[in-house]
């Protein structure tokens, strides 16, 4: 389950019309959400609040080893309107699962952002500031996010920790997203790592609005999916080492008539690593994912399977009545997640390492129960068990 502060940041992205999915880094976000989820360790409590539309605080208390905790504050120049109280938060916002990609949105025009007052431009760039200190480790995380232009965003994240080399590290990330393609440039102070990432979406350019009338043929050829390709390149100036990878993705779009699915294929030519994922949303409540890794230098392979299941409560009193409703009758609209009793995520790999996560909402508390098991180690099957509780107002 997403941290409250991550949720707030996502709300900021949403409010500033930034598409998180249109990045090479998010190419296999679905597979990662279904296969690489973190299982909690020990007990963690989080109390948070969006005190004002521009200001959020969060306090965490955990007992991993010793009692530790964190205090975080967030300021956003853009008022955030998303519902963030734990009682009526949208579970789809906090539970990362199958990411159903939407049609690409045409980026805002520059002049849309201009605000003039008395002949002067008075508009400001949207900015987000976030800081979090972990105690008693005295580790500080800081984030500076700024929407420079409608197609550009600057993200500077820093960690200060005495345990790290040079006492900390700073990562600067400049992101450009013009819909059709997106590029990212990064620089990390740690070993002077430089990186570049790019993603190209095949298909129609969302910036070019069709001016000619749509022909019948074009209607018939309506796009059901999107094909994207991307690459990344890193080079550390100080340690003179680098990394490279390329990736492909095909995903169905909402106007696809069958069940939605996503396929990705990534390749690391330097290390010989080939990874393919296939994720399918088999129903409104079920998503399945598989990943196969193969290294053609060492012939090592790995297989992982995962699923996500939304369990919904049946209100038995009205079931019979609902059954009698004609399908074309309009049902009373109600909140989508009201009947969700919990979301089960599970993954297993070919080493019989199992991770299980049970997330949901009880009254006004969001909870995450998780365990990771290793069936091969008979003496210690449970490797980690934990529970996380979140409350926000």
């Amino acid at each position: 389950m997403l941290d409250f502060m991550e949720n707030v940041q996502n709300a900021f992205y949403e409010a500033s019309h930034w598409n998180l999915d249109n990045s090479y880094g998010a190419l296999n976000a679905t597979a990662r959400a279904l296969l690489d989820f973190q299982t909690p360790k020990g007990l963690r409590l989080q109390i948070s609040s969006l005190a004002a539309p521009n200001f959020a605080t969060s306090y965490t208390l955990g007992n991993v080893g010793v009692v530790d905790g964190s205090v975080s504050y967030l300021y956003s120049s853009l008022p955030l309107r998303r519902k963030l109280t734990s009682s009526d938060i949208d579970l789809h916002h906090v539970v990362k699962g199958y990411r159903h990609l939407q049609e690409l949105r045409r980026p805002d025009e520059r002049w849309w952002w201009e605000v003039w007052h008395n002949g002067k431009r008075v508009d400001r760039r949207d900015t987000l500031l976030y800081g979090r200190i972990f105690l008693p480790q005295s580790r500080l995380e800081a984030l500076y996010l700024r929407r420079l232009t409608p197609t550009r965003q600057l993200r500077i994240s820093a960690v200060s920790d005495s345990n790290l080399n040079n006492g900390g590290t700073i990562l600067t990330l400049l992101q450009n997203d013009s819909g059709k393609y997106s590029t990212e440039y990064m620089y990390s102070t740690d070993s002077a790592l430089m990186g570049i990432r790019g993603l190209y979406n095949f298909g129609a350019d969302p910036r070019v609005s069709p001016t000619e009338p749509v022909t019948a043929q074009q209607v018939a050829e309506i796009v059901h999916g999107r094909f994207s390709a991307g690459a990344e390149l890193y080079y550390g100036l100080l340690n003179k080492s680098g990394g490279i990878s390329t990736g492909l993705r095909f995903t169905t779009l909402p106007n696809h008539t069958g069940f939605p699915y996503t396929m990705t294929l990534t390749l690391n030519p330097l290390m010989g690593n080939l990874s393919s994922t296939y994720a399918v949303k088999a129903g409104p409540n079920l998503a399945l994912c598989s990943r196969f890794d193969f290294n053609f230098y060492s012939y090592e392979s790995e297989l992982q399977l995962g699923c996500e299941l939304w369990r919904r409560r049946r209100s038995t009193e009205v079931d019979w009545a609902v059954k009698k409703l004609r399908p074309d009758w309009e049902r009373p609209t109600r909140a989508r997640d009201d009947d969700v009793s919990g979301i089960l995520k599970a993954r297993v790999d070919h080493h019989w390492r199992i991770g299980v996560l049970w997330e949901g909402r009880i009254k006004e508390l969001l909870f995450t129960l998780g365990a990771s098991l290793d069936l091969k180690k008979r003496e210690q099957v449970f490797r980690a068990v934990g529970i996380e509780l979140q409350y926000s107002s």
């Binding site: 880094g25 990390s188 740690d190 890193y234 990394g243 990736g247 990534t266 060492s298």
Partner: protein, 608 residues
């Protein structure tokens, strides 16, 4: 002086060293680039031995050595390791970084593990080595500085400069840790296996015990099993119920009783030591050692696993009381210290009261002793001065009392100071039959011996024997015998009164009592060789007391030592004269008079 180092047998079998190296290398946290266990596949010590230059020799004996060397090695030893490494530098780099500021590459950081074989050769070492060898403790080898000068690392990745440099750096770091921390431990363990045969048994035993089986496989210790013809430390027969009671009392009591046969043997042994006799009775499970310094005496426990710390120190302190109390007090280990300090303080206390009751054991006596400790602190100056003259006798008496619990109460009421020779002689008169018995024991012991100079090797048993042989033994016998006899004649009322008063004292003090503290310390700190003792770790919270007692004990020890030195001078001259006459007859003639004990010379091993 020359040393002959035999290098070739070291080269012969390195399989065990390989195993130990493997575990040592995998113990410390590995750098992220190494993703599998490090396995030592080949280890060759080479044909060139290291050059050793002796800088200093601190201690030298047949079975002990302490010295400082300057070592330099330019030999042809090599070591081959096998492991798996992460070949993707981005992966290892990111694994140590916090996620928050990580670039989060999609697939550029995917791993590639490569089996790696590393050969370490051209090892150049130079440094100062401190080597301590003792037959009981094995070899302790410590590097004073970082000995690694240079090293050649050749691996599968020699063609990639970055990886090669990285490996060289990482391996050098690991090796430095190995030399400074792990190698001394490995050598120590290896040497223990080599020199101390009990070590392996003990290892197995400890494992068994860890598994929870409180095995009664104590046959290592013939003294542990209740002897058929049980006697206490001073030759008095102990009846079965007493043995039972003692064995019920945890570990510390276990060894209070010895078989008469063993006592005789030990007596003979000690006599042979003292009379240059060539005859040494065969005693099982005993390693004979050279005349040792006091500091080496704690080691003796390693040789005789059967003796618990408690019994050992009791005997030693008794003995030390006879001759030089300091020797037992000044002994090195903490466990020993606390224990041996016990009789001392007991005697310390008893000096003002007139009779020593200090070392009584059993739960009833414990709080009593505790009280005495408090008393001691208050009137520290006064008893100390008087104590200097009398520690010997009082200690002896106290030990007697401790072994036969009933005596204690009786003793408590005796007001005659032990230093007055009248008291023992009283016993003597009381108990002529007993007197007759004892000399026969001693005399048989003496007679059975041929004059020779044999190295007496087992201090605890030796001291036991000494105890037996010395005239104080008879004294104890007499004293205890007399008390036993006279006990019924006492009015039972006083008896009860005393007991009730003892029981009235708080149980808390009892729990903090000495026996537990010292047995705790002895079981915890060292003495892996006395398994029964190690189990007695239930008591807690006596640390302060222990520390304080040690301090006091050391203080007393110093004073006693001074006194002893003076006395020794006197005795030297006297003992020469008394040596001519047979010891047994001398004891007989004097009838256990206290001054006589002073004449009995301690072997040099126990003279501080």
């Amino acid at each position: 002086m020359a040393f002959n180092f035999n290098w070739s047998p070291l080269i012969a079998d390195t399989s065990r060293a390989r195993d130990m190296l493997t575990t040592a290398l995998n113990k410390s946290p590995k750098p992220p680039i190494i993703v599998d266990d490090i396995i030592v596949t080949e280890l060759n010590l080479g044909s060139t031995p290291p050059e050793l230059e002796i800088l200093e020799i601190g201690d030298l004996a047949e079975d002990r050595f302490r010295g400082i060397f300057k070592m330099s090695y330019t030999g042809d030893a090599f070591l081959t390791l096998k492991t798996k490494v992460q070949a993707n530098p981005l992966n290892t780099y990111l694994s140590t970084k916090p996620d928050f500021a990580s670039p989060m590459p999609l697939a550029a950081a995917s791993g590639l593990t490569i089996p790696l074989q590393i050969t370490l050769s051209d090892i150049r070492l130079s440094g100062f080595v401190i080597l301590v060898f003792s037959k009981q403790k094995g070899i302790t080898l410590v590097f004073r500085n970082d000995p690694l000068e240079s090293l050649k690392v050749s691996s599968t990745f020699d063609s990639i400069p970055f990886v090669r440099d990285y490996l060289q750096k990482v391996i050098e770091e690991q090796l430095r840790v190995l030399f400074m921390e792990d190698l001394p431990a490995i050598i120590h363990r290896l040497s223990l296996r080599l020199f101390v045969p009990e070590y392996q048994e003990l290892e197995a035993e400890t494992e068994e015990r860890l598994e929870g089986t409180h095995d009664s496989t104590a046959p290592i210790d013939p003294l542990l099993t209740p002897p058929q013809d049980a006697v206490d430390a001073f030759g008095n027969p102990i009846d079965a119920s007493q043995i039972l009671a003692q064995s019920l009392d945890p570990t510390s009591e276990m060894h209070a009783s010895f078989s008469q046969k063993n006592m005789l043997r030990l007596a003979a042994l000690s006599e042979s030591q003292r009379t240059l006799s060539l005859f040494t009775p065969g005693i099982r499970e005993v390693v004979f050692r050279a005349w040792a310094h006091n500091s080496d005496r704690p080691d003796s426990g390693t040789v005789t696993p059967g003796l618990t710390q408690s019994s050992l120190s009791r005997i030693q302190s008794t003995f030390g009381g006879v001759r030089s109390q300091t020797s037992s007090i000044a002994s090195g280990s903490t466990g020993q210290d606390t224990y041996s300090s016990r009789p001392t303080t007991g005697s310390n206390y008893s000096a003002p009261t007139g009779l020593n009751l200090g070392a009584g054991r059993g739960s009833r006596q414990m709080h009593k002793r505790k009280k005495r400790v408090v008393d001691l602190r208050k009137s520290k100056d006064v008893p100390l001065s008087s104590e200097v003259n009398t520690p010997l006798h009082s200690t002896n008496v106290s030990d007697t009392s401790s072994i036969i619990p009933e005596e204690r109460e009786r003793e408590e009421e005796l007001s005659t100071p032990p230093e007055t020779p009248v008291q023992p002689s009283l016993h003597f008169e009381d108990e002529p039959s007993r007197l007759q018995e004892n000399p026969t024991i001693a005399s048989t012991a003496v007679e059975g011996l041929l004059p020779a100079a044999s190295f007496l090797t087992d201090p605890p048993k030796f001291s036991k024997a000494k105890l037996k042989a010395n005239s104080p033994t008879h004294l104890h016998d007499l004293a205890s015998e007399k008390k036993e006899r006279s006990l019924p004649s006492r009015s039972p009322l006083s008896h009860h009164r005393l007991r009730s008063s003892q029981q009235a004292t708080s149980p808390l003090l009892r729990s903090l009592s000495f026996d537990k503290v010292s047995s705790l310390s002895s079981s915890g700190s060292k003495r892996p060789t006395s398994p029964p003792c190690a189990e007695n770790t239930s008591a807690s919270g006596g640390i302060l007391e222990q520390a304080w007692m040690m301090k006091i004990a050391n203080e007393i020890a110093r004073k006693v030592e001074k006194e002893k030195n003076r006395e020794r001078e006197r005795e030297r001259s006297r003992s020469r004269a008394s040596q001519s006459s047979s010891k047994a007859s001398a004891t007989n003639a004097h009838g256990g008079l206290w001054p006589l004990e002073d004449e009995l010379d301690a072997p040099p091993a126990y003279v501080a």
